[in-house]
C-alpha cells in the first residue's frame, strides 16, 4: 500500500517536472526542474527494488550531468530574451499525442508474462551468484559470460569522450 502511494506521488511529480522542463521559457528554471525529475526517477528505481541504480542515478545525473548542463547554460546565456514560437510545435504535439496513444494502447493490450517460468530453470541457476541485488548485479557485470567485455568497452568510450570534449573545448 505504501509502495502504491509512493509510486503515485513520484509519478505525478516526475511528469510534472518533465512538463516544466519542456514548457518553461526560462532555461535555468527548466534545468532546476530537470534536477527534480532526476531525483524522482531515482525514487521510482527504489520502488522497483533497484537500489544501486537509484544511487547511481543521483550520483551521475544529479551530481554530474545536471551540473554540467547548468554550467553550459551559464556559459552560453542568450543575450536577448524572448523565445519565438516554433512553427513545428503544433504538428509535433499531434505526433507526440498519437505516439503516446499508440504506445499506451499496445502496452494495455499486450499480455505481459515472465519470459522464463521459475519451474523451467535448472536448480543451480536459481541461486543468485552474489548476495542481494548489488551482489548479483556485480556478478552479472564482472563475469566472462556476463557483460565484462561491454563494460571495458564502455570504459574506453568514456575515455574517448573525455578526450574529445577536452579537444573541442580547448582554445585554438
Amino acid at each position: 500500500m505504501a509502495l502504491n502511494i509512493a509510486f503515485w506521488i513520484l509519478a505525478v511529480v516526475t511528469v510534472g517536472a518533465a512538463l516544466g522542463v519542456v514548457l518553461i521559457r526560462d532555461i535555468f528554471r527548466a534545468a532546476l526542474f530537470l534536477v527534480l525529475c532526476f531525483f524522482t526517477v531515482a525514487g521510482l528505481y527504489v520502488t522497483l527494488q533497484a537500489d544501486f541504480l537509484a544511487g547511481v542515478q543521483v550520483l551521475i545525473y544529479v551530481g554530474a550531468v545536471a551540473v554540467l548542463l547548468i554550467f553550459a547554460i551559464m556559459l552560453t546565456r542568450e543575450v536577448q530574451r524572448g523565445n519565438p514560437s516554433n512553427p513545428l510545435s503544433i504538428p509535433v504535439l499531434i505526433f507526440a499525442l498519437l505516439l503516446l496513444g499508440t504506445m499506451v494502447f499496445t502496452i494495455v493490450k499486450t499480455s505481459w508474462l515472465p519470459v522464463v517460468a521459475v519451474s523451467d530453470l535448472p536448480e543451480e541457476s536459481l541461486t543468485p551468484m552474489g548476495s542481494g541485488v548489488i551482489g548479483s548485479l556485480a556478478a552479472v557485470l564482472f563475469t566472462e559470460e556476463g557483460f565484462l567485455l561491454p563494460f571495458e568497452i564502455a570504459a574506453v568510450m568514456l575515455l574517448a569522450a573525455v578526450i574529445g570534449a577536452i579537444v573541442m573545448m580547448r582554445e585554438k
Partner: protein
C-alpha cells in the same frame, strides 16, 4: 489498485513523449539536450521495470545492466554535446539551433 508493470510502462511512455516534444520544438541547443536526457530516463524506467517484472529479479538482472550502460552513454553524450554547444557559441555567439545552418544543404 495495485501498481503493476503497465503503470511503469505507461509512465515511461508519457515521459518519452514529453521529452520528444521538447527535443523537437525547442530552439535552444541546451534545452534540446535536456529533453533528450528526459527521454533516456524514460527508457531507463522501462528497462528497470522489465528487469523487475518480466525477467526474474535478483537472478537475471540484464535490464539493470543495460540501464548502467545507458547511463554511461548518456554521460558521454552530455559531455560531448555540451562541448560542441560551447564551441559553437564561441564561434557564432548563439545556441539557437535554427541559426546554426552552416552544414545545411
Amino acid at each position: 489498485m495495485a501498481i503493476g508493470f503497465n503503470h511503469y510502462l505507461i509512465l515511461s511512455s508519457i515521459l518519452f513523449c514529453i521529452g520528444m516534444y521538447g527535443a523537437l520544438t525547442k530552439r535552444n541547443a541546451v534545452a534540446i539536450l535536456m529533453s533528450i536526457e528526459i527521454m533516456l530516463n524514460a527508457v531507463n524506467i522501462a528497462l528497470v521495470a522489465c528487469s523487475h517484472y518480466i525477467a526474474l529479479d535478483v537472478i537475471v538482472l540484464t535490464g539493470q545492466v543495460f540501464v548502467i550502460f545507458v547511463m554511461v552513454v548518456a554521460a558521454a553524450e552530455a559531455m560531448v554535446g555540451l562541448a560542441i554547444i560551447v564551441a559553437i557559441y564561441r564561434s557564432r555567439r548563439t545556441v539557437d539551433v535554427t541559426q546554426v545552418d552552416l552544414m545545411k544543404w
